[in-house]
Symmetry: C2
Subunit: 591 residues, 2 copies
Amino acid sequence: MYRAPVEEIAFTLRHVAGLAGALESGRLGELTDDLVDAILTEAGRFATEEIAPLAEVGDRQGARLANGEVTMPDGWPALYRAWAEGGWNALTAPPEFGGQGLPHMLHVAALEMWNGGSMAFAIGPTLTIGAVEALAAHGSAELKAKYLPKMVSGEWMGSMNLTEPHAGSDLGALKTRAERRGDGTYRLFGQKIFITYGEHDFTGNIVHLVLARLPDAPAGTRGISLFLVPKFLVGEDGAPGRRNDVHCHSIEHKLGIHASPTCTMIYGDGRFGDEPGAVGWLVGEENRGLACMFTMMNNARLAVGMQGVAIAEAATQKALAYARERTQGRAPGRTGEGMSAIVEHPDVARMLLTMKALTQGARAIAYACAHAVDMAHTTEGEESRHWAERASLITPVAKSFTTDVGVEVASLGLQVHGGMGYIEETGAARLYRDARIAPIYEGTNGIQAIDLVTRKLPLSDGRQIGSLIAELRAVAAEAGTDPALGETGPRLEAAVADLEAATAWLAAALAEGRQAGALAGATPYQRLLGLVLTGCYLAKGALAEAGDGRRDERRALCRFFAENLLSEAAALRDRVVSGAASLDAARVVLG
Amino acid sequence: MYRAPVEEIAFTLRHVAGLAGALESGRLGELTDDLVDAILTEAGRFATEEIAPLAEVGDRQGARLANGEVTMPDGWPALYRAWAEGGWNALTAPPEFGGQGLPHMLHVAALEMWNGGSMAFAIGPTLTIGAVEALAAHGSAELKAKYLPKMVSGEWMGSMNLTEPHAGSDLGALKTRAERRGDGTYRLFGQKIFITYGEHDFTGNIVHLVLARLPDAPAGTRGISLFLVPKFLVGEDGAPGRRNDVHCHSIEHKLGIHASPTCTMIYGDGRFGDEPGAVGWLVGEENRGLACMFTMMNNARLAVGMQGVAIAEAATQKALAYARERTQGRAPGRTGEGMSAIVEHPDVARMLLTMKALTQGARAIAYACAHAVDMAHTTEGEESRHWAERASLITPVAKSFTTDVGVEVASLGLQVHGGMGYIEETGAARLYRDARIAPIYEGTNGIQAIDLVTRKLPLSDGRQIGSLIAELRAVAAEAGTDPALGETGPRLEAAVADLEAATAWLAAALAEGRQAGALAGATPYQRLLGLVLTGCYLAKGALAEAGDGRRDERRALCRFFAENLLSEAAALRDRVVSGAASLDAARVVLG
């Protein structure tokens, strides 16, 4: 059973991601070390004791639809209420609406743990928090006053309605229609698919944020507006009243996260109300809906990244426990009687160490990204701009590398279990199934790579990625001074050089208009950046004096990563700088 | 829907794996090119038209157990009968028992296609064919006369009973007990788990081959005997009579291959018959059971390898079809109206080309392995010994690289589908689930790597791997002469050098007693060999003049592989030669 890795998380936040410095600087207000520990401990306790025990029943029963209503698995509505009553939904929300306004670093740490307990559970609240952010940033005072307090308290949940059958990665193609009424309201008509937690029995109302197009809107992404469409219209008294003309038509039968209802939502077909049309209110300005969504998209991407970290952690814990217990054969050097625990076999140890290193690297990347978000919010001027850029730069990697790691580690974890891994009751298969959505939703990892290469590398004319590379090179140099880290220093320096070479190649390709070439290298580049960040963050952790008696372990894991896994960096650089021509030529194979 | 790739298979058999030469040499008896084409076409037709349409219902319904009896999915018993009546079970079986004695190359080609139609279906017959092999090689004349004709015709199926709860990879630990009776029969008592097709309603009898231990047997693997235990005892008239004391206690709820019943079998608990004990007959000699199993284990491993190839092919077909149809965004260079098919986006093209190249490489490795098996059977003396060694050397790679590729390609295929890939109805998720067992069963891929490094590399004092490397180097040199292959020649030469260096390092480690170091490098080495074989076989195909108008495509795919994917070889070599020390040191992390 999953146990929230509170100590490892606290260590990573403080000594790798930058929380210690941020606390010292006084930027995080009244937040103290003790409070950080208290929050992490309690979030971890909730994940371990409340969420994790309900993960299996959630997977088995799934969310069930009947007559347009979704019934959640046994025990889940109570779980949600306990979670909301714990104040967790309010962690980062604005204090004026009941939130605690805590740093994003704590939020993602808590997210990691809740997702570790059950990804299908944590994704729901995650979306509500995203809806709160969008509304807080762009909603009118009236909308905020009416909806935010109840969304922050968790009394109501939110949902994000973007995708349509022909508009997924390309939102410009969406067709849902919004008509103006004279009274400041709109009527929405259309169909949305893949709407996570679009319908459920957790809360008495659901606040849908919906992208739609006005009749006179320009084509493409510049003609998209954002609307708030509640499931139940809210009266003057603030209580849910009559049903709005929106309903859940069907839910998807998915590979994993079975308890997360993935809904097809129908707006305005006349099922409810006197005349067809779902009543909606504009959020932000007309035709500026995509900009409103972008506000929260970075955070949503990081939140999905936490799912990758969480699944990787859960899979590693499970596999390690099994490998310590299960005995088969005799490992080299074994002298005693009987069989060895399989953890003693070098090949199994390789799998487990790979899992450990990738999980920790993914975690550090995600937390470093959250740190940059917090720094951008708590600094000003040039400094704030730098940190906002840094967050922007790392976000695609914090979404993609982490979620790829989630799949990779879950697959290794299943393998460690041998035949038992393939049996659903063991639980390793659930992690493998759940993990697989994260590289897809909230922008596929391929879309992240395009974003990274075409929009993030050019930030400040390349100086942002340049400053990151300089920092990484400094870590590599420092790693070279610690003999306990073996070849880590030189290996990291070589990998940073690979990253720099690949970056330069992509910059030149973009500058010279070789768009296809740059895009061909985007995914290998993204992985390369993730690997180099992993190596440097493992080294940063290994170099830190935390006084917790685990430094030798961190050094050993860092060295393992540097001397075993980092060699992939050169291959990735090669793919970026030499791969595009043959990729282009080989399109003939694809007909 | 899956379409058996008959032409690609025929090309690979002839021009890459060596079928053309074997046919020319006259070694394959009366087999002609026309007959090969006819068999492949008809096996492909059966896979495409009969098996594939039932894959989805098989996955959805699964095998169902009630009262010890397994009911197969709707339409599946008729499918099996049609398959057996088509004579497919008899393809490679000995002619004296009704078989056609055809080369193994044709068998694995047919296996690929049947598994492409449905892996859950093809695994059943595969095991029967394995049981036929074991019985033909080691059974007494009486046993063979009684059972083989009906097993070869497919009237009865077989099953292989090896694993027990504490004896998986380590069969020496098995506890199932066999007691001698004075009449030449034995009585078996014990429990077997993970028994594929241990119970079903395809056939009127099931012939279980069971590993068990005699009371006076030595401990470990030298005390294991093999027994034939029919579900129904067979009378003098050859008809199934009374029920033997063996039954299916439960079936597993698995991640995938739902229609393949994975049974816990109970032997001798007294449920059937007058006194407890399942009646069995010895196959081969007492205490030599493992040797009997090894006879067929290589072929069974290759058969599982075909599952990897098959799933990879099916996933590639499905993803490519989707990518040609689905439109999103605008690919670089697009000038027309509207959105581009996603296949035009470089990142999607990279995924699909990677899938294509790995699938074709895995196929070629498996067929080359089958070719070696056929050569060993049809040559004599030193030549036969060479080919038997070659088959032995390649088998672990033909099982592991192929099945890892199956998982990797199925995962990429799911990703190409975006959100639709995560929906079960699309079918990409089924391939991802089905694929995941193949790296585990029939010896985990880690066990294959141990076998490769500790037992196969030392064959003929290293001269067998040496001769393979020399052949690969020659292909690399030839590739260097074709300008259409771009950098393929030098890239392959470098990769072959990496393989040679890793081989030498492992040989030295074994010679110097550094067993743990050699085992630490086993899995990366296995992947390295698979990658280099893939590159060389793609080149061999690209250099061949098949006159089918597809040479340019083969050249382009080969070049893509060499210039994009082969760069992993250096990283793998590095892991083998530099990774062991840090892996060993990092065991402290695993507690």
